[in-house]
């Protein structure tokens, strides 16, 4: 049986204390919130640490205000996806939280943990024994990339469902480091690097996510995965639109699982701004959005097909966002949980 390795479990009472512990241990320790990403990876020896720093002190409230909504980092995905305020004002965010992994994992997995979820690759998300047989890659224990052997970098895939939506909503995270606190837009939280994928300091704890409220924003998240019950995204689109009349004034389109970071489709955003949304525009926008997506052969199903599907998820997300307030919903791809 695959067992968890031995580790010390540290239990700080505040974020500052946690950050200081992280500073003291350096790479020999990691934060743990719900543990749904971390524990399987510890079993597979993708992470090797001496200590885990528990974040169970993090508050678990959703503070819906008239200007902003602040979601504490310790809120579970199950709570976020079923919170009335989020569903009403940030439908796409609730939708994304409700599509992460599976019901039991959403009961444990947290909003903060989901923003930090490790990048994925099916040469990497394997046991130590398998990776040893395949030959280790640079993300752990080795020095080459098995997907793109001539590449100097790692192409592991950003697989968070909520990060693209948080970016589309102009979300801002609060960070507590050993020496103080700061805010950082979620769009600045990631780097285009499969290995070193977070732009925050490893010692910094995410304490909350702030979503600036704008009741006119229409949002949607559409996720493609083999099984609606449990799988990570193999493509996903988060959109947030603001209209003046029929015309799109503001538009964010952020893709999940097609690059090593949540990929913002800026050209498509530019294209859509100032236009009226109809089937034709949606199709064109989706075509433009899909262009920069370059899936590789390191996730489920073929990358050729995944590439073609990017267009479809963007299209569906745009349709869904546009029609959401008109009572109609777009039928999602594949079988989705009820």
């Amino acid at each position: 049986m695959l067992r968890l390795p031995r580790f010390k479990y540290l239990r700080p009472k505040t974020a500052t204390e946690a950050a200081r512990m992280a500073a003291e241990f350096g790479p020999r320790a990691m934060f743990v919130a719900g543990g749904t990403d971390l524990f399987p990876k510890l079993k597979r020896r993708q992470f090797e640490v001496e200590a885990l720093i528990g974040l169970d002190f993090l508050p678990r409230q959703i503070h819906g205000g008239s200007t902003d909504c602040v979601v504490d980092a310790g809120v579970t995905l199950a709570a976020a996806s079923s919170d009335n305020h989020l569903i009403e004002s940030f439908a796409g965010y609730a939708e994304a939280s409700g599509q992460v992994s599976s019901p039991p994992l959403r009961n444990a997995g947290t909003v903060g943990g989901n923003l930090c979820v490790d990048t994925r690759c099916n040469y990497y998300d394997m046991t130590y024994e398998w990776r040893k047989a395949a030959g280790f890659c640079m993300k752990k224990d080795g020095d080459i990339c098995l997907v793109a052997p001539s590449s100097p970098r790692c192409w592991a895939v950003s697989s968070s469902d909520t990060a693209p939506m948080a970016i589309a909503l102009d979300g801002v995270v609060s960070l507590t480091g050993p020496d103080g606190e700061r805010e950082l837009p979620v769009s600045a939280l990631y780097r285009d690097d499969g290995m070193d994928y977070m732009a925050k300091q490893p010692t910094e704890v995410i304490t909350s996510l702030r979503l600036p409220a704008d009741s006119a924003t229409r949002t949607a998240y559409v996720k493609l995965r083999r099984r609606g019950s449990i799988d990570f995204p193999i493509a996903g689109a988060a959109v947030a639109l603001q209209f003046e009349g029929d015309t799109v004034m503001r538009c964010r389109i952020v893709l999940s699982a097609v690059a090593s970071y949540p990929l913002e489709a800026t050209a498509a955003e530019e294209f859509l701004k100032g236009r009226k949304v109809d089937a034709e525009t949606i199709r064109e926008t989706a075509d433009i959005a899909a262009k920069p997506a370059k899936p590789l052969d390191n996730a489920d199903l073929s990358h050729f097909w995944r590439k073609r599907m990017v267009r479809v998820v963007v299209e569906q997300a745009l349709q869904r966002a546009t029609t959401r307030n008109q009572g109609s919903t777009v039928k999602l791809l594949g079988r989705q949980p009820d």
Partner: protein
Amino acid sequence: MTTTREFGVVGKPLARVDAVTKVTGRAIYADDMLLPRTLHCRILRSPHPHARILSIDTSAARRIPGVQAVITGADLPIKFGILPVTQDERALEHEKVRYVGDPIAAVAAIEEEIAAAAIDAISVEYEVLDPVMSIEDALAAPRDERIQDYGGPNNIHKLVALEFGDVDAGFERADHIREDVFFFQGNTHLPMEQHSAIATYVDGRITLWSSTQVVHYVHRALAKVLELPMNRIRVIGAAHGGGFGGKTDPFAHEIIVCKLAMMTGRPVKCTLTREEVFYAHRGRHPVLMWVRTGATRDGQITAMHFRTALDGGAYGSYGVASTFYTGALQTVTYDIPAYRFEGCRVFTNKPPCGPKRGHGTPQPRFALELNLEKISHELGIDPVDLKQRNFVKPMTRTVNWLRVTSCGLDECTERVMTASNYRRRERRPGHGMGFAISSYLSGAGTAIYWNDMPHSEVQIKVDRGGVTAYCGAMDIGQGSDSVLAMIVAEELGLQPADVRLVTADTDTTPIDLGSYSSRVTFMAGNAAIEAARKMRGMVVEAAAAKMGCDTSAVEVRGGRIGDFTFEEASVLAEARFGTLTSAGSYTPPKLAGPYKGSGVGPSPAYSYSACVVDLDADARTGLVHVNKIWIAHDVGRAINPLLVEGQVEGSVYMGLGEALMEEQAFRKGLHKWPSMLEYKSPTFVDMPEVETFIVETDDPEGPYGAKEAGQGPLLPVPPAVCSAVYDALGVWIDEVPVTPEKIVEALRRKEKGEPGRFGPTRFPAIPYPPTIKVEPPPRDLPSAAPAAI
């Protein structure tokens, strides 16, 4: 024989006898056992698909504190294997490894982590050989050397060629002939419980608790490899978390823990990781198939020629039987007057394939159903009509000598046709429905190794009013313990809860060949009826004597034997006869036809299923959404309808997984995704609604008329999915799994004016041996005929 009888418990949807222990977590699985001083074992496995072992250095591992023993192949050199003709496995290999995951060395340590570290410290020097990863590769001359040193030419393991009736004449008679090539991808069982075994060695005796489907075969393999007499080894089936065929072979880890227990004098346990379960495998063979069928203008089959090529993986396992199975049961659903079968199994450097639910028959069923479907479209006949016209009749023999007794194909078909409204289905873009049928054995008519013993035996002991039934059968989750309890209770006028069961223990229970080939209800059930009726005879006789009446006047029901409670009557009987024991056994009738290879296919009875799948398929993305499945299953008689429905729905689930996503895929010689998250299989949430119809045909030889339910209902699902996809989008996906990419590609081809199809295009040239021609038997089976033919 029992149709008019009123049953006490048979036919009632009673909860399983082990329901409470299972759902409250109190059942003790092998991995739950922790005997005092237990050592933990881990196994070093090959990182190469094909390599010679030049040296193994275990010295660093032995130096790690806490390591108690390290063994290699030199400690367990004797070969074993499930079939007598393919004794080609070693518990640990010290000469050559044949797939990534082949076991090489094992460590017993005081903690599992220490054992894992010790495994990592063993260094092995290999001479890497060219791996053979496909059927085509295996048929060609090996670049380095053959995988196994038997079989041949090249990496061919087994070749078969049989002809029944005059096939050439049959094709001559045909108005229409169609050839197709199909591929059925390999997949694995994915039981919830990983294999686990724990052994002790006390007073010169081995006791092994294991998650196995067949304690008897494990017992035999241990005796052979450990060179101990059978009576010094005891194998006990621990509570079981699912097998589906994957725990039907004796496994390396079972032998290893026994050996380590003998060496250390301490209990030794090994629970495989999920990844190792993918390597233990013995799952569905990938099979490439070519089928040629001739039919008259009105859709009557005149002849069929069927070729299969099985990718067997690195070892024999059940492979010889699997090969025959890919050709055996085509004739049991459709009346094929002339039939030729050519089969071939090859070795490749992958985990060995073996029996998975449906063993060797879902693949040809897939090809057969789709081939007939295509013929019906070409002839302009409704596919359901065409199939129905060719259905076998009850009480007949097939051209390849299989005896068909009860057969509910017509009724099954009618039930799903009516319920699904298939004939008047809604026509909208992307919506489709598909229909398919199938059949499966109720236990193989011949044993795996040649012997004349009964296939199942049951003993009953009645003592102080308590009834205990002893049987070697292993409940692997299908509910066989509950069925045994119900049968004994039925005969003694009791409730299942009144019957204590002792099962699957080679020391205390008589032989049963195990839980595979859908045999337990039929065979152990018949043995239990015999034993229980003998016991009933004694109790009734004692009661009658006391009542001063004839035995026929003693009523057995509701916990009473005539004027007495069961307990009182059993005391009377014990006073009269001494210790109350009875025994029953079951030996299937000799059904094999007069030709070599006829041992695979015969069964005392065949179950039948019919299925309709309703789905939406999206032309743009290729995504498929199954809306609903209707399935009717002829189980002869449902001894417990709840269990039958469970088996039918479980089969549908598994069939859907195989149809849509499951894939034992390899990349660079390695299993691509030996993990439950990456190897896709439907979960509860992914399951569509399933409506099950139980059809009862009261089989003349089944216990109370019962036949199998655990495997057959899987078979029609994959072909029904493919015909529904065709119905929806007008393209044929001639291989499983039907992934969205394949649908999109088939549609692209169709748009370009090419055939709208995805699947293999050619069947390789295979050096089949000269065909053995077999004279068909007389086809009618008078209902009064003796069992044997």
